[in-house]
Amino acid sequence: MKRDLLAALFIARKDLRTEFRTKEALNAAVSFALVVLVLFSFAFDLERSELYDISGGLLWIIYLFAGSLIVNRSFTREVPNDCLDVLVASPVPAWALFLGKAISSFTLLMVVELVSLPFYGLFNNIIWMKTFWPHFCLMLLATWGITVTGVAFSAVTVNVRLRELMLPVLHYPLLIPLLIGAMEMSTALLRGDAVDNGPNLRLIVVFDAIFTSLSLYLIEFILVT
């Protein structure tokens, strides 16, 4: 078990090492986030207070779109040279392989989100520093949900034609409950509302728990057909 967890970390480290060398996906994701930010600023002409009302929604849409670029690649990067076969044939159990991929995607996603956040605050004149730490915890939890479902779909669609087009069709609807919770809570935090964020937090945690366990269990069926 300990050896398997270590294997998961080795795989995560490998992913991060290759990604930080080329920075392809990172650059693309951050650029995309900025582009979407700009587009939204042209789409809506809102008063400052109104902006705060949609702040959470806006933020998580940006994170979702940018994050897809990273999470979709997670298993496809194993396809060239048939590396996926070597990993599956190795003693590393499927769940550890999945966990490693999820950890690396999660890390990359968090980097993209943290880099985009100051720009988001800048362009929309939204103050995010005051509530940073609770917001950061929210980002950790919600990003994990996006990661785990995205990596699962990435594994499932490794051999599918037009996968880049298909993945959003599958992934985004599935994330609706998570996004509802995250968007509401973000808005509440950024606006400084005095509300109980408990229900939303619980929703996100339940979502994470259900899909993490489902994915870890089902990955064996996905990889060894």
């Binding site: 599918v160 034609r161 996968r163 489902l214």
Partner: protein
């Protein structure tokens, strides 16, 4: 032999539908608050029940495929999902019409309609993905996984939006009831049965098509190997 079953189901379903519709439209008195259109509930909700039944059968068969690798289970799953989508559409369209007639709005994001719509979207993804995979085993495995993930999501969607509605006091026009007039239960259940019968006939038809297609695929592959 199977053809006979399809005909029997279809004919039974049609007869029952005619009888029930007659009962609903002509015999039953108008609903107290909403007038004649209130009876739309008897068309709108049983469609959702029928859809859930078929989704349930599909998910059951998906799990069965993962465990046993039985391709018949995969064919059953896709047939059930396709028919379930039809009934979900019926539910959504009748709901929209009903909403427009009574409250003047075509749509609202209340938890029931939204959950149904999300269900439709998730399984639409399922149906879109299938043709994009060439190999039959991979296709069936992928479909089974998608069906299971989708069904795990539906309750979460339901509760997420319900919580939000409670907080935001969204208009929830459709079905503040739950208190249906007891005399309505019989036509309600009958409509559900009607949908099950007709849906069943459609599923068997679709299943036959899937089976033939599988045979053709394997024959084609056999031919290429020669």
């Amino acid at each position: 032999m199977r053809e006979k079953k399809i005909y029997v189901l279809a004919i039974l379903g049609t007869i029952l539908m005619v009888a029930t519709m007659y009962d609903i439209l002509v015999v039953m008195p108008d609903e107290a608050q909403q007038g004649a259109i209130g009876k739309m509930l008897l068309v709108h909700v049983p469609a959702a029940f029928a859809a859930f039944t078929f989704y349930g059968v599909a998910v059951w068969n998906s799990i069965k495929f993962l465990i046993k690798k039985d391709f018949h289970a995969d064919s059953l799953a896709v047939s059930n999902i396709e028919v379930a989508q039809v009934f979900t559409l019926i539910n959504l369209v009748t709901g929209s019409l009903w909403g427009h007639i009574i409250w003047g709005i075509w749509w609202t994001w209340d938890f029931r309609l939204t959950s149904q719509f999300m269900c439709f979207m998730l399984y639409l993804g399922y149906l879109l993905m299938r043709p994009a995979v060439a190999d039959a085993t991979q296709r069936a495995t992928m479909s089974a996984i998608l069906a299971i993930l989708a069904v795990a999501d539906i309750p979460l969607v339901f509760f997420a939006i319900r919580l939000r509605d409670a907080r935001m006091q969204h208009p929830s026009p459709v079905l503040e009831t739950g208190k249906m007039d007891p005399s309505w239960w019989t036509p309600f259940l009958l409509m559900w049965l009607v949908y099950l019968l007709i849906g069943g006939a459609l599923i068997m038809l679709r299943l036959r098509q899937e089976t033939v297609r599988r045979e053709m695929d394997s024959l084609r592959r056999e031919l290429h190997a020669m």
